[in-house]
């Protein structure tokens, strides 16, 4: 299975990296940019799990390690690879 995981800041959390990118784009003349948010994208390859098991395991991984759930939210999709 392949898990595609997106981790982004929750609403209200200051996204300094996003602000920095926004400013840089404005400096380059992209005045049409109104907001930028920056998050993480991870691909996790899993072996020997059913889709049902993988769903639970990936949720656990996100809660324990991949996301800081105090300030970040996560979402993921699973697709077969084997």
């Amino acid at each position: 299975m392949l898990a595609k995981i997106h981790v982004t800041y929750k609403k209200g959390v200051l996204d300094t990296q996003g602000q920095a990118v926004h400013h840089a784009l404005t400096d380059l003349g992209y005045n049409e940019v109104k907001q930028v948010t920056v998050g993480k994208y991870m691909e996790v390859h899993l072996k020997g799990l059913s889709e049902e098991n993988a769903k639970d395991r990936v949720r656990e991984m996100c809660e324990k390690l991949l996301a800081n759930t105090v300030i970040e939210s996560y979402r993921y999709t699973l697709s077969p690879t084997e």
Copy 2:
């Protein structure tokens, strides 16, 4: 328009962050994990552009700032927000 941009390492480029996450997951007992890659996910909100224009402008932004095209590749989708 909302541009959703994924920036990931090209094949053959050492992904140290991915390796670190892989090791951490293994240490936590997730032995089913075979590979991890870590990339960036950005959302860029654009105002006053047609989809055709936005496509070109976002490609430019990626080439100039958002991705280091020597070692990273990017892909993006556009969706209406207004």
